[in-house]
Subunit: 350 residues, 4 copies
Amino acid sequence: MNNKKLKIAITGSTGYTGGELYRLLLQHPAVTVTAVTSEKSAGQPITTIFPHLAGLTELLCEPLDPDIIAKKADFVFLALPHVMAQDAVYRFHVLGKKIVDLSADYRLSDPAVYEQWYEHSHRYPELLKIAVYGLPELHREKIKKSALIANPGCYPTGAILGLAPIIKEGWIDPKSIIIDSKSGVSGAGRSSSLAYHYPEVNEGLMAYKIGTHRHTPEIEQELSALSGGQVTISFTPHLIPMNRGILTTIYASVLKQADSGRVHALYQKFYRSEPFVRVLPRDQFPNVRNVRSANFCDIGVTVDSRTGRVVVVTAIDNLVKGAAGQAIQNMNLMMGFDEIAGLKCAGLFP
Amino acid sequence: MNNKKLKIAITGSTGYTGGELYRLLLQHPAVTVTAVTSEKSAGQPITTIFPHLAGLTELLCEPLDPDIIAKKADFVFLALPHVMAQDAVYRFHVLGKKIVDLSADYRLSDPAVYEQWYEHSHRYPELLKIAVYGLPELHREKIKKSALIANPGCYPTGAILGLAPIIKEGWIDPKSIIIDSKSGVSGAGRSSSLAYHYPEVNEGLMAYKIGTHRHTPEIEQELSALSGGQVTISFTPHLIPMNRGILTTIYASVLKQADSGRVHALYQKFYRSEPFVRVLPRDQFPNVRNVRSANFCDIGVTVDSRTGRVVVVTAIDNLVKGAAGQAIQNMNLMMGFDEIAGLKCAGLFP
Amino acid sequence: MNNKKLKIAITGSTGYTGGELYRLLLQHPAVTVTAVTSEKSAGQPITTIFPHLAGLTELLCEPLDPDIIAKKADFVFLALPHVMAQDAVYRFHVLGKKIVDLSADYRLSDPAVYEQWYEHSHRYPELLKIAVYGLPELHREKIKKSALIANPGCYPTGAILGLAPIIKEGWIDPKSIIIDSKSGVSGAGRSSSLAYHYPEVNEGLMAYKIGTHRHTPEIEQELSALSGGQVTISFTPHLIPMNRGILTTIYASVLKQADSGRVHALYQKFYRSEPFVRVLPRDQFPNVRNVRSANFCDIGVTVDSRTGRVVVVTAIDNLVKGAAGQAIQNMNLMMGFDEIAGLKCAGLFP
Amino acid sequence: MNNKKLKIAITGSTGYTGGELYRLLLQHPAVTVTAVTSEKSAGQPITTIFPHLAGLTELLCEPLDPDIIAKKADFVFLALPHVMAQDAVYRFHVLGKKIVDLSADYRLSDPAVYEQWYEHSHRYPELLKIAVYGLPELHREKIKKSALIANPGCYPTGAILGLAPIIKEGWIDPKSIIIDSKSGVSGAGRSSSLAYHYPEVNEGLMAYKIGTHRHTPEIEQELSALSGGQVTISFTPHLIPMNRGILTTIYASVLKQADSGRVHALYQKFYRSEPFVRVLPRDQFPNVRNVRSANFCDIGVTVDSRTGRVVVVTAIDNLVKGAAGQAIQNMNLMMGFDEIAGLKCAGLFP
């Protein structure tokens, strides 16, 4: 039975995203994980790193050697740090594997922009050209035909989905966009440091990397494509004392007479066929608790007539629609599976 | 396709247990929820009460009228407050429905004990006689043949599973048992009160109902049956600032020369075929984070030779193995489904 | 010894603000609390409502009868719900008492604006004229001479202090102001409701009252006075899973060539003599954890040259600088005490 | 004015205990901190390490050189890791300084027991003989005359205070004692590691070091002295997702006919003159939230007649009565200050 299933490798499997990929893939009907890599934990059972998986897998971690991994798996999820993913993607690509890369390395189509924000040059500009930005709501058809998907960042997923309908329609001033995001701590990864030591974070709240966060160019790239001109945004991420979730509050000046009713209708229409975007009823706004562990992006939208601004609020689980869930949604599209396979679950509440 | 599926009703569907039943049943391959009841929310979509279910169901809440519900469903989960469940169980039973009752009303086989702890008489003592205490690890064969299951309380599940191997074997002094439990706040239900107002609970910690909690007689009933004599325990529950999870720390005096190795081996043997009990490797102890959203009970055990006491620690998700998950495990047994159907998922971490 | 101390009454003493007033006043060298009122808890010791005060006071709650309270106290803090405070303030004022009113009833100088946002008429417009908005950093001299202070709201305190230097100087476009605030749950008060039930809030995050929060006109009133013209703002509050603290992130378009250095210098100069405002070093931004339990407002500021926007972040403890601490600071000014008396404490970290 | 104040040095000042000592000493009327040491942060302002102290001190950290520190300070708090404190205490002692050592190095009077549990020999057994265990409720008179105080561990403070009255009176079986403690995360110190990384701890709960925690011999030493015979205890610490606080639940078999009323009266009598122990009214039990930031130990006690066991629950703030607050209480006694000076503050709630 498992012989017919798609064989999957997860590289960089010991971070939170790797663990979440494994959790979600375990409930996918058409795949089986056959390799997990970790340099640091090579030889150890993955359940030593992730005791919540105990009883569900007996895989051992192994070093990341693409030639060896390629013999064990036909589809590769890369959850490596940026810069490190450049080579790994290249090698798996040359070996003919289908890839979803969860790093930032193949998201920015312009290598100069990559170099500016990530302070490293890109060694595979030709590969950049064929990589597709894996936001299904915008690029579904391209994703279906692609062998290399750059999975969007967590913040960009919530920001772009929140703005796509209205910026595409030209109803807002693209110079006026302000994106204020609030993320749970798992977004910072699983490497311990004083900054994420429990008593430092709990009962605390701060903004960070104001105007300088690396997800900025990714958001601008996609919004620019939608608007048809260069878009520059203000983006401020914040660290919230919770495990999961990103709430993004977006402000922009409305250009024409678009009141709350019209804007809400626009969003409903834009996303009416999307399996994982829930536009909430008018005057309702999302809460990250309702998307925890689920692949949904919940959206609420209103126009404040006092100020002439639209306010959009989006909620995602940063590890699911913001990472592993979206990666699997991309895999489903690339493989011709049902797009919702393994993903159409309710969130965990409370 | 859905026509062939088992039709399920959830009564008292607007509490946390009701919501969790719904979430889990949505991923069960052989059932479909056809009715949800709530007096207070009758006429409203269940997704108004539980926005995390939006997009996954369009059911409306209806009042609890057993005659009407019985026409819509063949299997009933009752998630009503105790005392209230007495009648509802009776009526569905008379109507020939299979029932898992998640209240306390049918857990205590002796109506006098029920009356003593719940301060109400039991109106259906004859039904008590046929109700089976739904802890599959102890009563699997009886459950398979039963039409009325009393689903165990959350605390008793962790406490009884933690003691069953060693008390059955007679290795501990049954007079020496102390059970110190720590629960997340969802265990208190979804009715708001000052006691569970966020700022009152967060960054707080307390014991409550010391020696008087109503789960005490349920634990004693099962331990007495296992030991073959009357067992009286000290039981102290505590309220922990987290949403889900119960950690139970159990102390008892070891009667014979049973060191950590022998006791650990006993637990491994006792639970080796159990799909939802994970006895951890020696010198490892459970953390509720590893069972969050999952139906597992994780167990660690050691003997402290300085004091001659065994210390057992168990972890469950109070809403899953401690309520809704165990209820579905019971349904699977009652209906002849695979016992793990819809339940063999990894926990959510982090 | 206590005879020489200023006698204080706290009305509405059983909410979080009332409790915090009591905690802070206990460490004030020149005052003594002689009366606490609560209709609901009349006759009970205040320590029944606030066990953390046990051993420090033996006062009993009493009903709010201004004639009786006025005989026991010479200074009154009113921590009543809005609308209810209108009369109470009037009666204590007529009785010749000095008052700090922590409700919203006397903050808006224009009764029409009050009526528009609070949906009640103001019965004492003449009293509104003499009430002073109690933000010492802006109105210190008026406060010193006043007998009736309207203590600012929690959100307005962080928002106004964050904008005062730059709007007064005319360096930003007053039409471009966006204020995105994040508050701990104690800001919602001590009345339990499902919305603030622990499992509903914990691991959750949402925006609320977008564009319609009642603190909006208060912020606009003060910013308009500083700018010399009508200012209309976008204001969005968010609920954060923590007990205390407000972080406010403010965006505005810079009108002239004001880079980060110049703007930072402006803030340092503006607040250099303020005992409770800490302008952080350049490129540092505040965290609410550093002001927990303290009367400080921490401020960080930068200019994003890519977008031409200034971003200001402020942090306060909503119950201290955002309520009780500021009220005591006002009392100190009104009574000629040292402004920092009882307030110059370090925050509680962690 | 400051010239007349006692000059204080804090060594190892960059951990949570060091920071808390500083916070509390800032509000002490008779002392001034003149030196803070940290090897790692030497030369940096202490406010760089603890931004919550900004505006309240301008001290720079310096290396720990006892000869230099001794010229700046007359009283030394040592907040160094165990083993490291051995020498530092010795050197300050030789230099004639009064010392409160917050490490474990001078708590165990028997150097063999120290070596057994801490796996290092004790190089200053003669100094051990003059060190006094600094629990004022038990050793007040000795503390007053001592120049070297070993400040109790956080867990032992709550455990010993919870048992002292009843074990001294001989009302319990000393072989039956079980101590189940639950601690906030600040107890683990400020060194980051994966174990205390926010998403690993939040929404988690576990027991650790079951039967092997190093605070065990310290508890046994004091209980043995009170009981007049060797006492061996079961002690299990747990990690709770909150910043501060220890709740300790204690079980023991009552030897004679001591019901709840008599036992409660015994506790009231034993602690009636203690400024920092609050025995709660009968049938009430403590919550750590009521002692947060305060030097109180709250105690509740009951006898469960079903099992013949006394259950005692105590609550402290691990950084205050469990560390820095108790250290200052000891200093007050050693210096002849009012015992409550700088400490008689209400806790922070919420």
